[in-house]
Structure formats: structure tokens, C-alpha cells
């Protein structure tokens, strides 16, 4: 599948997890795309950890506001029902459990719901930014990522080998191959992408997948 189609497929599936009125924080990159695929009738409030609620659409070229960017530093707009605050309030919203769902990418996720997405030893360090707070604080953590690394090795593993972002916080993993729920007893395969075989998902996953053969949905 071409890269761009994979990303669209993942974003579209993640969007189905969002409900009308949800407060949602979308990470940089793929997660940002989710906003383009909301189910009709679903309106969400996007939280920007640099200090406001109500991220609106990208501004037209030439209408960027120097004081209004998202957490990735890209120019955005703010909805008329939006509101602004300082960084302490922004993270009080996150840490205090007032964000319903956050969608983030990952380097590795393991079967205990541990997440590694901020640092690869030996590679240049960029810092955790707001990721550690988001993963600890938001009510539901959805990892939106490609199922495997570029070299084909699994990103979903038995135990993370990279430095953790947070312990046992991931709730749901959505890739171009599958939807996987993280529970106490391990990883539950919930849905498989159309055209993908169960064996393919199992082969691409580095941890056991619990599933009841007959009742896996597709997306």
C-alpha cells in the first residue's frame, strides 16, 4: 500500500473512535490527519498543548497569525468558541484527565501498554516535549502508526527496548493492518484491515495477539 494511503486508512479508522464533544489532542504528523476524517455529526474540541482549545482549520496563505501556531509550530486558526491559557493550565487540562483522547505516534508499543516514542539511544535526542504528560494524563491513549518499521521489524513487541515515554498507559493501537486493544491480559486483536489476512497481522506483530477467530471485524 502506498505510504499516503496507509496514513489515510489509519487516520480514518482513528476518527471513528472520537465522539461528539470529545476533547482531543492530536500529536504531530499522522495523528493530525485524523481531524480530516471525522464522522458526520461529530464535532470535537482540539486541544493544543502550547496553550489553547479549539484549533480551527489551517489559515489561508498570507493570513497566518504570528501568535497562533499548533504544538508543532505550524500556523493554525482558532474557533470562535476557543480559549487560550498558559502552559500550566494547558497541562493541568492534560494531567488532570480533562482530555478525552490523545492520538500519538510510536516507535514501540508493548503488550503491557508501555510506550516508547521519544528517544532512540545513539540517535540525536529531541526531548519529550508534552508527550509524557499526554500519555499519563489523557483518559484514552490511541497509538496511530504504521504496523512495522521500514526494515519490516515489528513496532508492536512483547517488551519495549527503547526508553519509555510512559508505563502501561496505551489503550488502543491502530495501524494500516489492524486495530488492537491493550488490556490487562495482553493484546486483543479487534479488527483487521480489508484485504489483510490474520496470518499477516500475526506475522507482523512481535507479541501474541488474543482473538476469537470468527468475530474479528474489518475496517
Amino acid at each position: 500500500m502506498p505510504e499516503i494511503d496507509k496514513r489515510a486508512l489509519i487516520a480514518r479508522r482513528v476518527a471513528k473512535e472520537l465522539h461528539d464533544g470529545d476533547v482531543v489532542n492530536l500529536g504531530i504528523g499522522l495523528p493530525t490527519l485524523v481531524a480530516n476524517y471525522l464522522t458526520s455529526g461529530v464535532s470535537i474540541v482540539l486541544h493544543s498543548e502550547n496553550g489553547f482549545l479549539g484549533i480551527g482549520p489551517e489559515p489561508q496563505q498570507g493570513f497566518e497569525d504570528k501568535d497562533l501556531v499548533n504544538a508543532g509550530g505550524k500556523p493554525v486558526t482558532i474557533q470562535e468558541s476557543g480559549c487560550c491559557f498558559d502552559s500550566a493550565m494547558s497541562f493541568a487540562i492534560i494531567r488532570g484527565g480533562h482530555v478525552d483522547t490523545t492520538v500519538l505516534g510510536a516507535l514501540e508499543v508493548d503488550e503491557q501498554g508501555n510506550l516508547a516514542n521519544w528517544m532512540v539511544p545513539g540517535k540525536r535526542i529531541s526531548g519529550m516535549g508534552g508527550a509524557m504528560d499526554l500519555v499519563v494524563g489523557a483518559k484514552k491513549i490511541i497509538i496511530a502508526m504504521e504496523h512495522s518499521n521500514k526494515d519490516g521489524s515489528p513496532k508492536i513487541v512483547k517488551k519495549c527496548s527503547l526508553p519509555l515515554t510512559a508505563q502501561a498507559e496505551v489503550d488502543l493501537i491502530i495501524t494500516e493492518m489492524a486495530v488492537i486493544a491493550v488490556r490487562q491480559d495482553g493484546l486483543h486483536l479487534m479488527e483487521i484491515a480489508e484485504g489483510i489476512l490474520l496470518e499477516e497481522v500475526i506475522a507482523a506483530t512481535g507479541a501474541p495477539l488474543l482473538h476469537s477467530n470468527g468475530i474479528i471485524g474489518t475496517f
Binding site: 502550547n50 499548533n70 509550530g73 498558559d86 502552559s87 492534560i94 535526542i125 519529550m128
Partner: protein, 222 residues
């Protein structure tokens, strides 16, 4: 009480070894004229507390460009290649801290609190060397308060008493740092008369502010 001055006058008491907080998030809400004045002054060996090292040539990134920093408390250095490089080769001591923790540490410093008890960072490298405290059977990291000698901040408007308002995402760390430094220097786009900002709309009380610098509208990167 608030004094008006130029960017050059404002930074002239900044000397080697001082701890400076700088507002802004990837350059947005950073006092560009104050940073530029500090770059021109060339003061080195600074401890900087700031959300991120921005980008080369932009915001706090300029202090990184000129190697004026010896210690950096920050949450993100991914925009400035030199930060990571200098961290690796040991030239620069970088204390990477989760963004929400950094915000609360600064707030605690300005609020006379002894620290922050946060669940963020538990089970990660962030907990290394830190006290842990158990409250109601849950474990929290104790993160110590942060204070500074000087804060270099950016607001949208000030009144003549120093009361500040901010615009959109340019607020970020500025109001927190205004409470946590001995001397607070604020660059603003406009200075209005007392009473022109409604008491209910003031985001930072003027009592925190020592110096105001009229900065004009400076766009990031200029």
C-alpha cells in the same frame, strides 16, 4: 514599580553565570528584541530555562547559535540540531523535562511551593535521581521548583502599571516565568494607559513586572 527602557538597557545587567528564563514556544511568544540584545551583548555561560531551543536563528535558538548557554532546562530540542550535538559532546548540560512538569516547576518557584508531585515520568528515565512520594497509594515524582535571576518575556500589551495581556498561543510560559524571577523584563507590542486593560482581563499582574521594553511587532525569524 515598572520602568521603561530599551532592549539594550534591559539586558545590560545580565552577566555570566546567571540563570535566565525566556518565554516562548518554538519562537512564538519569545521576546525577540530582548534575545537579540542579549546576543549582541554576547554574554556566555548562561543557565537558560525555556520550553524549547526553537530553531537556528529563531527565538531562543539564537542563544544556542552563539553558544551562550552552559546549562539548559527545557522540554524539547528537536528543532535546533546544535542543542543535541552540544548535549552529546558534553559542551552543554541539558536537563530534559516533560513540558507540563517544567511549567509546574516554574509555577512552584514563583508560588513559594516546595515542589511538584507529578505522575508524569514515573517508570521512565525522567525519574532518575529524584525523590518519590506516595499519596493515597499512588506514587508521584517530586520535581523541584525553578527560579531565575531574570525573566525575559513577551506580552502583547502592557498598561503603564505593567499589567499584561497576551495573544493566543504566544502566552505559553510567559505568565509563569513572570512570577519566578527576581527581575522581570517584558517586551510588548504596545503600552496603553492604566485602565485601558480591564482588571478582569489582566493575565499577569503588573506587580511582577520590573522593566517594559516597547518591541514593536517582530515576527519570528526577523
Amino acid at each position: 514599580m515598572v520602568k521603561l527602557c530599551t532592549a539594550e538597557e534591559a539586558v545590560k545587567d545580565i552577566s555570566e553565570g546567571m540563570c535566565i528564563m525566556v518565554g516562548g514556544f518554538l519562537g512564538v511568544g519569545t521576546p525577540d528584541n530582548l534575545v537579540q540584545a542579549l546576543v549582541n551583548q554576547g554574554t556566555k555561560n548562561l543557565t537558560i530555562i525555556t520550553n524549547d531551543s526553537a530553531f537556528p536563528g529563531i527565538g531562543v535558538g539564537k542563544l544556542q547559535d552563539g553558544k551562550q548557554i552552559c546549562k539548559l532546562y527545557t522540554s524539547y530540542i528537536g528543532g535546533h540540531p546544535d542543542s543535541g550535538k552540544c548535549m552529546e559532546n558534553g559542551e552543554l548540560n541539558i536537563i530534559l523535562t516533560p513540558q507540563g512538569t517544567l511549567a509546574e516547576q516554574i509555577r512552584a518557584g514563583g508560588s513559594g511551593l516546595g515542589g511538584v508531585l507529578t505522575p508524569t515520568g514515573i517508570g521512565t528515565v525522567v525519574e532518575k535521581g529524584k525523590q518519590k512520594v506516595v499519596v493515597a497509594e499512588k506514587t508521584y515524582l517530586l520535581e523541584e521548583p525553578l527560579k531565575a535571576d531574570i525573566a525575559l518575556l513577551k506580552a502583547y500589551k502592557a498598561d503603564t502599571s505593567g499589567n499584561l495581556i497576551y495573544r493566543f498561543s504566544a502566552r505559553n510560559f510567559n505568565p509563569l516565568m513572570a512570577m519566578a524571577a527576581k527581575t522581570v523584563i517584558v517586551e510588548v507590542e504596545e503600552i496603553v494607559s492604566a485602565g485601558a486593560i480591564e482588571p478582569d482581563n489582566v493575565a499577569t499582574p503588573g506587580i511582577f513586572v520590573d522593566f517594559l521594553v516597547k518591541g514593536g511587532k517582530v515576527y519570528a525569524g526577523n
